[in-house]
Symmetry: C2
Subunit: 246 residues, 2 copies
């Protein structure tokens, strides 16, 4: 699993990479490409970066140059508004693409920070555009990735606009569970990489409320919470919780 280093003089955390050898093919950008096409992608996605917990991938205001695919680890993106408070806009795990929101203004509107030691692939955007002109399936898949991001954001809008605290937390846990499942991990047991405050920010709740809802869920036998460790005990009832509004 040890990647080979290149040009350490430039950035010691930079490694060589190859989509064709990457186990995320089915999750990430290469989805649906032929072996031949993936090799072309390889030439584009050359740089991989390792990030320590707390390190930034990019900061709000940085010039947009590239997209970033999460290879391992866990990150958040957050938007800082005028009055100093920041809103977490997303949590990102293996195989997900970050930075799409920077295309429109050519500057990143938000911060992206690693919540644990992580590894990301750098995808120079103008080269991705070039390549996707030659590979229709890449082009189409990229459009789907962007569209999926829009759908995801709309789901959050719905959550924030019309759900009560318990429903929001339930939806959040189910979403994480489903994403871990898609990556071959347990659907019912995982570590939260983020603090209660970050969950709250994402869900439009205060950290105390998140904590209280966790406690209530625990009392009701829906989950077992121990700090950042979560075990979902009753997936069905959690699902009901978001289905049946009043």
């Amino acid at each position: 699993m040890a990647p080979t280093k290149i040009v350490p003089m430039f950035n010691p955390e930079t490694f060589r990479t190859a989509c064709s050898n990457c186990s995320l093919r089915e999750l990430c950008l290469p989805l649906g490409l032929t072996g031949d096409e993936i090799e072309q992608l390889d030439m584009l996605v050359r740089v991989r970066k390792q990030l320590r917990k707390g390190e930034h991938v990019y900061r709000a205001g940085n010039r947009f140059e590239a997209l970033y695919a999460v290879r391992s680890g866990f990150l958040k993106t957050s938007l800082l508004n005028e009055d100093g408070r920041d809103q977490v806009t997303g949590f990102h795990m293996t195989g997900e693409i970050m930075g799409l929101d920077g295309i429109s203004t050519e500057h990143h509107p938000c911060d992206a920070v690693a919540l644990e030691d992580s590894e990301i692939c750098v995808i120079p955007f103008s080269r991705l555009e070039e390549l996707s002109r030659d590979i229709p399936s890449l082009q189409h898949h990229f459009h789907k990735v962007m569209s999926r991001e829009i759908v995801r954001d709309q789901g959050v809008m719905m959550l924030l606009g019309s759900m009560r605290a318990e429903e929001r937390v339930a939806a959040f846990l189910l979403n994480l569970s489903q994403r871990w499942t898609a990556r071959g991990y347990s659907a019912s047991e995982f570590h939260l990489r983020m603090t209660r405050e970050e969950i709250g920010s994402y869900l439009g709740l205060k950290l105390e409320t998140v904590s209280r809802v966790f406690s209530r869920f625990q009392e009701d036998g829906l989950v077992a919470v121990q700090q950042k460790h979560i075990r979902i005990l009753d997936l069905a009832r959690l699902r009901e919780l978001i289905g049946q509004r009043c």
Copy 2:
């Protein structure tokens, strides 16, 4: 920075379905294209549809085939969730592109309805993808359009996640004002095409709350409200309202 430009386009007698003759060039998909390239777009965007108030452009579940550019009028998109309540996800005016959220699943996740008599241009999506392979500037502009949608949604997430009722309504009014301005209309006086309930749904508030906030703004001399007719009296103070939390 839009100087007065768009005035003649609303002449009801102009009916050419051609981007090259369309006064929305600067607002819509053709932005940044050469005359030659726009002519190629013309061949793609052939169909224009007129919609009566209340008619659907598409419905949730419909197969995704095309994007839709608003040529005139005003529309909303709304997401229906399992328990029957719908969340307005956006309001759409002249020059804006609808349907981007359908690309990912190849089905429209939401409904799109005209809130007044409207006219839309049908943009067959697979042909747009083809054409954007040949015209890099179209490709890039399209990516910007999608990205802008993501940024817009994140703005709404921030609004829903961290603003109080008055701030939300203020942000909403300022947003409309700014969008009308960009289209050459008055920044301070306009008709709301949607009901209080639709505003509330979009802002995560109940219709009564929206109404109360309008009344309070009126008392405070910020706006003059008369049913659906809005006049912004103090833009600066409205702006302050969203800047300074608490």
